[in-house]
Every structure is written in C-alpha cells, then in structure tokens.
Amino acid sequence: MNYETFENRVLPVKNKLFRFAFRLLGSSEEAKDVVQEVMIKVWNGREQMATIENMEAWCMRITKNLSLDRLRSNQRRATDSLTEGFEIRQETLTPHERTEIHENMQRVNEMIAALPEKQRQVIHLRDVEGYSYNEICEILELDMNQVKVNLFRARTTVREKLVKINAYGL
C-alpha cells in the first residue's frame, strides 16, 4: 500500500477512531495521541493489510486496544465532561434554549459515561457510529451474545434513567 491509498482509505476514518478513543479515555488530547499511534501502526503493518477484509473495523480494534492499554496504565475513569468543541447547530435558538439543550446533552453524556466499560463501548459503536452487530463483534473481539447482552443492559439502564428524569424532573 502506498501513501496515497493510505491517505484515501485510512486517514478519513480518523474521526471515528477519535470518537471511540474519546469515549474510552475521556480526554481529547489522549484520544488524539491514540489515533496517531493507530495510524503509525496501520502504516507499519501495511504489508498485511491486503489480507484484512474490513479495514475500518480493524482500525477500530487497534484503537480499542491502545485506548484500553492507556487507560490501564493511567488508572483513571473516563468521566470527564464532553463539553469541548460543543456547538449547537440551530442558530435560531434563544440563549435560554441553548443552555437548556446544552444541559440536556450533558445529562445524557453523564448517563453514558457512567455505564460499565463494555456497555459504553457497545452502545457507542451501535448508536453513535451505526455499526452492525457483526462489525461490533469484530471490533470488540466478543461473541454475538455478549454484544447483545451488553447493548441490552446499556439501553435498559439509560431508559430507566430517562424515565426517572421524566417522572421527577431530575
């Protein structure tokens, strides 16, 4: 693989990799470092790239492994706020509405950040990135059953919290 192919096929995945690393690490600086490391790894291992069917899933898997390595060496939980780079698209909103949306997003973010690691990974890959179950299995190196169980638990927890907010306004 030459650099052009790399630029066209691998580099564009960077934002997906970044979001996933960010979900795991909770720091955009560290997530960026991880994505760079992934890129270097993919480039150095480009000889074996020809044998890989789903290049994107393969990159995601490397991202997961490198992020988890980092997380383990740092011994920290990814519960930092996600407010960096926050931007609301609808420009017709009043400042009050804007703050409200900001708060709501923050609340959902905390809900997801509070999930156990596996559940957080699965719900991110499915509901944010829109991967199929098969791809999630490949990325997380889990079997179908584990993926579905983790997704079910994650969605159930989120649902319960949403119901609570709706009922008590918490």
Binding site: Y3, R19, K32, M105, R107, R155, N166
Partner: protein, 171 residues
C-alpha cells in the same frame, strides 16, 4: 410519521430488536419536534447524532501523521534492503559451494589423461635419450653380474670334460 409506529419502534429499540435502518428512522424522527412524553428520549437520540459530528479538533493532524510516518519509514526500508542483499549473498554462496563440490566429484570420476610435458620436440628427444641411457646403464650392470655366472658354468663343463665334448658333438 404516526406516533404509534414510533412507539412500536421505540419498544423494539429498547429490546435491541431494531435494525440499523429502523434506528436511523428513530434518529430522523427525533430530530423534529416531539410530544412532551418523549422529550427525554429525544435528547438521547439527539445526543447520538451530535456525537457523530464530533471531529478531531487538530487541523494539522494529517500532516503530523505524515511526518511521523516519514520518520518511521526509512528505518524499515534499510532493514529490508539489508535483508534482501543478505538473501542474494546467501544464494550465491550456496551456488559456489555446490559448484566446487560437483567439480571435485567430476575430477574423481574422470582422472586426467596423460598430457605432453614438452612442447619443443628437440628437448623432448634429449630427455627421451637420457631416460633410455639410464635404462641401458641399468641393464649393463645386470649383464656384468650374469657374466660371473658364466664362469661357474665353464667350471662345471671342464669338470664334466667328456660330457662336454659329447654334448658338443651332439650339437
């Protein structure tokens, strides 16, 4: 989209039975205005969409990667070049040793024929003469010794006197 359909989809969603297309339908639906009862659920789906828009903030990211790749490339190239040369050298070594041993075997199987040692015929004649002289000298030496035996023979015949004359007569 009618609300009953959405409710059914949502129920499926919570049970993890929705397909990717159905999940996209839900996200599309929640992008617009929703009834108060679904306000919180809408936040969840809007959150997912908002998350998908997040990008690496660093504008020079691609360049940084390119620089790091350029740094890490030559090392790998050198190593592979050295390995390639080593392969070629090893191949040559095998061929050379093989040829050497094959030649040795061939030499053993077919010993070299006698070849002329002198190119100048005069010199060759001289050498041959020398060699023949050596042989004749040896022969003459032998003959002298044999003559001594002749003495014994003569003595024997004088002792046998008569017999000798008879023998001579017969001859």
């Amino acid at each position: 989209m009618d609300s009953k359909h959405i409710e059914r989809l949502l129920e499926k969603y919570w049970n993890c039975e929705t397909s990717l297309e159905e999940e996209q339908q839900l996200r599309d639906y929640f992008r617009g205005g929703v009834p108060d009862t679904l306000k919180e659920t809408a936040d969840l789906f809007r959150y997912f969409e908002w998350q998908k828009e997040q990008k690496i903030a660093n504008a020079g990211f691609d360049k940084e990667v390119k620089v790091r790749i350029a740094k890490s490339t030559p090392k790998g190239k050198n190593i592979s070049m050295v390995i390639n040369y080593a392969r070629i050298a090893a191949g040559l070594l095998v061929v050379i040793t093989a040829t050497y041993f094959v030649r040795m075997e061939i030499r053993k199987a077919y010993p070299p024929e006698v070849v002329d040692t002198y190119s100048d015929p005069k010199l060759a004649l001289e050498e041959t003469k020398k060699a023949l002289m050596m042989i004749s000298k040896g022969l003459n030496k032998g003959q002298k010794e044999v003559e001594k035996i002749k003495v014994f023979h003569e003595a024997e015949t004088t002792i046998q006197g008569k017999d000798l004359k008879e023998v001579e007569k017969k001859i």
